[in-house]
Amino acid sequence: MSQRLKNIVKAGSLLALASIAFGLGAARADEIVIGASLPLSGPLAGFGSFQQWGYKRAVAEVNKAGGISIGGTKQMVKLIIRDDKTDPNAAASNTETLISRDHVVAMLGSCTPALVNAGALVAERAKKPLVTGCDPLEAFKSVRKWNYVWDLFFDEPELAAAQFKALAELGAQTNKKIAIWHDNGPDGQVVGGKIWPALAKDFGYEVVQNAEFPVDNTQFTSIIGEAKSKGAEVVLVDAITPQAIAIRKQMAAAGFTPKVLNIEKGAEPVQFAEALGKLSDGILVGGYWDSSLPYPGAADLSKAFESETKLTSSQHIADSYAAAQILLDAIASAGSTDPEKINAAIAKTDKTYAVGPVKFDENHTAKLPIVSLQWQGGKTVIIWPKAAKTGEFLFPLP
């Protein structure tokens, strides 16, 4: 029996030792440590890999230029990336570890509201600045009043309005009957549930169907059937990529071809077009970035990604790259690794990055300008606004 007691005592000391051991591993004094938790496995691993590239590139560029000057001495930047397996619990614990073990001075965000929020709430409480992309602004703002977290991404109302404006300006002739399908995720609810129906009314459309579905739904047959039977000629969809692919295939298989098909979110990455082939032609998607946009470094960024990875680039490399640059610039202008000073410097950001001009408002958000993209032959072209146009509007949907 006493052996058991010994065992328990042993285990207790093990626990104590472990906590001490984990406490070690502090950063070298001459390094600026920043961290990020990213979805590198699980359903969102695709986004994570783009973000990882963007973050790493920004850091590599700064280090190549000799690092950042802190109190007069140049210091290298060390970026620690941890995988959150697309699990908010892991995103939170990764962020905790980055702060408490790796003593990061600031952080970069994950992707999608659930993962970004999980990490951001930890950072907010620990009073460490965190700059993120990949979290739509309305969803970001709805969580709380942020003090240390900064988000640059598209604004849902603006994105939602973009297609209506584009259709009006480009003169697409339809019967003005609209079907809206959206997931019940944070941005899906905002865009599909609120903004689109309101805008449709403003632009003189009739909403004949508004269907909501969960984020892991795979079958859309009854939704599609209903839209078809109601004669909708404009279909607006807000769904993640796997669902976007499923919806497009099931629409074709159900013999439903509206004149306009706009799929937000899911239709954006190139895997969407790769998986669908010809079926992707003519699909509209709102974008916040394209390498053709006239911003500094935009063209280079895309080229660098494609030559390095042999993969097709995505707009997610741009917001992540920009987010990292913003943070690094802020550290440089603060000239300090004090989180408070960095945070103050981030607030003062006012510069044009590869994603366009960035200036944070009082809600800690920075809107990225929206363009309307259309898939044509496996590539996206900008069809709106006119100033940025790189191709002609394909109408109706083939």
Binding site: E212, P214, E274
Partner: protein, 291 residues
């Protein structure tokens, strides 16, 4: 309330789809029936099938439907070593050890998919996968009809294999009473290995069909595992024709659920049904087993 054409189309599609998914459930069912193993990697076997179908098309240019036998063999050949080296040594250790081992295999497979094929969502791109088939007021996806036909053919073939052949006899005997079967001269481990391979082959074929009809990615497996479990329980463990019945029933009820409550409630209806059947007919599905 949706109009009659929509309702009919939805229900017919649901039934056809259910039949197709029954094929993915079949493998789980026979493995569960013979080996008493909840193969937590079964969904990932389905995904393996989808990837094999995708690359088969990419590298040979041959339509994956024509290549189904080859795809089935490839997936089985990948699964058999798993049985031989991971599961067989644990045979005496109770179901949890084997179950957790297969879970570990599942997460390794998922990780391997991401590393090998990136996290992209894929789809096997075929014309027939996106064509509608219209019969009067009913429009259903052509691929569902094709998939259903293949599934039914395969399920009947497996049924024939199990009910009429020597191997099937050995398999049923091993499932009913492994010890007695061994004493009568059956090499039970070999039977289990082949059953495991057969289960994986079914998953592989199902995966290719799903890959053509829908989309898939490294982490798609979990959804198919749960769906398959529901079908298996509905149809009865180890009951081959019951699997088809279970799939069709689930498909029908899910469609009705989707029609009346919205598509989001499809899976919910499936799971609720699954629990109800489990709760009220638990013994009807397999010879009693005491743990």
């Amino acid at each position: 309330m949706p109009d009659i054409g929509v309702a009919l189309s939805t229900i017919v599609s649901g039934v056809l789809l259910g039949g197709m998914l029954a094929l993915t459930a079949l493998g789980l069912s026979i493995v569960l029936g013979v080996m008493r193993l909840v193969n937590l990697a079964h969904g990932d076997f389905v995904v393996v099938g989808a990837y094999v179908g995708l690359f088969f098309l990419k590298f040979t240019g041959v339509d994956p439907l024509l290549g189904l036998p080859v795809i089935a063999l490839i997936v089985a050949a990948l699964a058999i070593p798993l049985y031989r080296f991971l599961l067989a040594p644990l045979a005496e250790r109770g179901p949890e050890a084997q179950m957790m081992t297969m879970f570990a295999v599942a997460i390794i497979l998922e990780n391997a998919f991401v590393l090998g094929f990136s996290a992209d969502t894929r789809s096997i791109e075929r014309d027939y996968a996106t064509l509608p088939l219209t019969l009067g007021p009913v429009t259903v996806p052509l691929i569902y009809v094709i998939g259903f036909a293949i599934a039914v053919a395969l399920i009947l073939a497996v049924h024939w294999l199990i009910s009429r052949t020597r191997f099937g006899r050995d398999l049923r005997a091993s499932a009913a009473d492994a010890q007695a079967a061994a004493t009568l001269g059956i090499d039970v481990k070999r039977v289990q290995m082949l059953t495991f391979g057969l289960g994986a082959a079914c998953a592989g074929v199902g995966g290719t069909l799903i890959g053509a009809a829908f989309q898939f990615g490294p982490s798609s497996g979990a959804a198919y595992l749960l769906n398959s479990l529901a079908i298996v329980v509905l149809g009865g463990l180890g009951n081959v024709l019951g699997t088809l019945f279970g799939g069709v029933t689930l498909g029908f009820l899910q469609s009705v659920g989707g029609l009346t409550l919205g598509d989001g409630y499809r899976d919910l209806v499936g799971m609720a049904l699954f629990l109800l059947v489990l709760a009220f007919r638990p013994d009807g599905f397999l010879a009693r087993r005491r743990s």
